[in-house]
Symmetry: C2
Subunit: 493 residues, 2 copies
């Protein structure tokens, strides 16, 4: 179905309203909707001039900055497909993704230019852009004025916490329905201003840009997550909404100005399961926390728990957003739907769910429009989702299924434990044994840890068999624990 270009419509309706506030250490920029549209016009002309055609795949190798959003909109008008590249990847990893996605052009900036150069040989053209572009004559308003909602807007690579990343193509329909479902769940207020401090190359960052243009509201964009900058932006720029992962929320709570978080009307919490302690603490501090469940394949949040629901539904990720459905199926027999309360694989269906991975071979993941997430969870009788574990994280020890998040939640309640990751390591006797990697400021012994688990009534077979104290835990750019990397490090020790 065809739809008028989202930004162009907002440029008419919201003209002088603020689209983007960009704050970096050195400066502050304001972009109104009509300024944004004018700059997009210029870029469209430039990109078309370079020969970019409908359907071409164009890699974006950029950090967060207004030009990121501008280029995304310009590619929409060129009917090109954006390939969202993680700037923290190694050259080898980028090369693989560029080849896999058949990226023809690569757009970089002064910070990613070196990396881009080293990739140059594999791509047809390389656009070096220091973003001080000289204005091209008068805007021609080239490109397409409408969006075919069924087309692919962009390709994301899943964070790759385990195995090779998979290419997730998301259509305009996916993004549109994700934004609408979010608006229907959270409401829309005229002074909404979403603080974007996640990388734009993750769907959680990009989704904020879509929501804002579809709702016609503002974004406060930061180059990256920084506690001081985030808390200041809330106070100074009057941001009202934010998306965080547990790690970044934790860091904000440790900052002396954490109270600024109370000015927000919503704190969306996703990316990884949040510990009950973190959620409790937010409730005590009167923070409008909203635990969510979502993934790249669902164009961001697909369930959301509202603050007033938390006391009744502790540990839940909430109800599916409008337009989405959930189903829990047996781990071994995926044809069998499980009853209320039983743990199984989480299936998701809805207008924001991808049609399938780019490579057909991997498409056993989507059947009959149901996405087999590989995650484990259950539904309560009111239909609320409880995510138990990422499937790939499941530990099988002595024939028992053990969910590392359950043990992690208990260990995080220990006052001396700041961060923790529980993994299973290969063991001849048990299949796997449970190992806890802990970040802590004080000395901690295995005995203390096991005593604490005892106190918390954890089943003995779930007690860690050994512990490691590390200075920090490796995470993805969006703050998810890199469990595979942690496992790998432990196994090579």
């Amino acid at each position: 179905m065809k739809f008028s270009n989202w930004l162009s419509q907002r440029a008419v309706q919201k003209k002088d309203a603020i689209a983007i506030i960009y704050k970096s250490l050195s400066h502050r920029e304001i972009w109104t909707y009509s300024q944004l549209e004018n700059e997009v016009d210029r870029w469209v002309e430039r990109l078309l001039g370079l020969g970019i055609k409908s359907g071409d795949r164009v890699g974006l190798l950029l950090a967060n900055r207004p030009q990121y959003i501008i280029l995304v909109h310009a590619l929409v008008r060129c009917e090109a497909v954006a390939v969202f590249l993680n700037i923290r990847l190694t050259t080898e990893e980028l090369r693989w993704q560029i080849e896999d996605s058949q990226t023809k052009y690569l757009i970089c900036d002064e910070f990613t230019q070196l990396t881009a150069n080293s990739l140059g040989s594999r791509i047809e053209d390389l656009i070096i852009e220091n973003c001080s572009i000289t204005p091209a004559r008068s805007p021609l308003g080239g490109g397409s004025s409408s969006i075919n909602l069924d087309n692919i807007q962009g390709i994301f690579y899943t964070s790759g916490t385990t195995g090779k990343p998979k290419a997730v193509p998301l259509t305009y329909n996916n993004h549109f329905h994700s934004a609408i479902a979010s608006a229907l769940h959270l409401g829309i207020e005229p002074d909404d201003n979403w603080l974007l401090c996640m990388p734009m190359f993750h769907v959680g960052g990009l989704a904020i840009a879509w929501r804002s243009v579809i709702n016609g509201t503002a974004i406060t964009l930061l180059p990256k997550f920084d506690e001081q900058e985030v808390l200041e932006a809330i106070a100074v720029e009057k941001a009202t909404l934010i998306s965080l992962v547990p790690t970044t929320l934790n860091r904000l709570l440790q900052h002396p100005n954490w109270q600024n978080l109370q000015k927000l009307r919503a704190i969306l919490l996703g990316g990884a399961p949040a510990s009950p302690e973190l959620i409790d603490r937010c409730l005590q501090l009167n923070l409008p926390i909203m635990p969510t469940y979502g993934m790249t394949e669902t164009a961001s949040q697909i369930t959301t728990l509202l603050p007033h629901e938390i006391p009744l539904k502790q540990g839940s990720s909430g109800l599916p957003l409008f337009g989405n459905r959930l189903r829990i199926v047996d781990l071994h027999d995926t044809e069998q739907e499980l009853p209320t309360g039983a743990i199984g694989q989480i299936l998701v269906q809805g207008a924001s769910v991808m049609g399938g991975y780019l490579k057909q071979l991997e498409n056993k993941a989507v059947k009959d429009r149901w996405l087999y997430t590989g995650d484990l969870g259950y539904l309560d009788r009111d239909g609320y989702l409880y995510v138990v574990s990422r499937r790939s994280d499941l530990i099988i020890s002595g024939g028992e299924n053990i969910y590392p998040t359950e043990i992690e939640a208990i260990l995080l309640a220990h006052p001396a434990i700041a961060e923790v990751c529980v993994v299973g390591l290969g063991d001849r006797e048990w299949g796997e044994i449970i190992v806890a990697v802990i970040v802590s400021n004080t000395e901690l012994s295995l005995v203390e840890i096991r005593d604490f688990c005892e106190q918390k009534s954890l089943a003995r077979y779930k007690f860690p068999k050994s512990i490691y104290i590390w200075e920090s835990l490796p995470k993805t750019a969006s703050g998810k624990l890199l469990r595979q990397e942690i496992r790998d490090r432990l196994e090579t020790k």
Copy 2:
């Protein structure tokens, strides 16, 4: 595209939240979302039991009542197409529409039973329903759990102010995008409660039902428009939004309790152009008035002017809602797009615009997804729409195009004139001559009227050549002037 059933989703998410408050003189009923869903379940079973199949056309010959909304949702689940019948039509007119739409079943209630009986011979089945249905065992939850957005939800007949009514098929997509565009323009607040006092058989009434279920908010439903009941419902039921036509708004302003209107957050004004006097008065009274433009073919409002825009954009119907586009073309050469400010035919494109009339023969009305509305208007340089006249109302006198609404707006400023309709009557010398039919409490002479037009600097060729004082003007159920009927009455005099 498939989408989860709208009501079923809300029945999970909003369970005990109020879906409908129904107030009639004799009683008050409350329906929560889960009660509504349960009652729909029962009706689905009953309708399927009667043999209603996917694609069957089912006529609804009912006044406003909760069962109307319940039946609409039940037909969604049966994948049947609702045919919205105006209960004020004559038997002959209904017979024509039933035949034209190939209606197989007719649902009526105790008030429309007699009419339905007299139509009985033409339809396969006739469901007499006094709405005291005995509960069917336990709900089976039959019917489809998903909605194919591309399917036709219902068929409306255009009000028929001129000529034979045309059958307008609206898809679920049309309704969905209409509701979403409205939400994006007006915002969504958790305590939204839309006062539904227009007939459900007009798209303006039905659209409120869709918006509410999609937004998950409440409706206060009245059997019909009544000043006293409307103003009381605002105060007692805490309605926050209302849709009116100029006539009903005028009547509310004349009621001693008009101040209750100030409690609303939005008053959508559609159906017919509002006079500048009416809009000014609302502004002075601090009423959150929103003039709109829309029609059955666009699934209700397609442009809306927000209260804060009124002082700057007097006489405008606002900007197109998100997802819609406007274009003005030459009256004679519809291929030629007109520049800013020039009056021509209004073309509309967007996701809520119908694909075409039911009968293919009439489909010159939609070309390239552009609906040729037949209405006249222009766009200002900011893209705001000004509706000048319904095309069929255009008077051509002495070769000059004359828009009756312009003259009506001036005459309505006269303190003694309550209502007015200006039409052209056939004349050998002039082609047409201008006649004003006036509703007034005092004596008025043609000389006085012409003097008043003079004072208001109206061009002389637009002065009425004769006036008629009537007790009231004939209108459609939705409050639009029946210009053709007024013309007919004058011509047979």
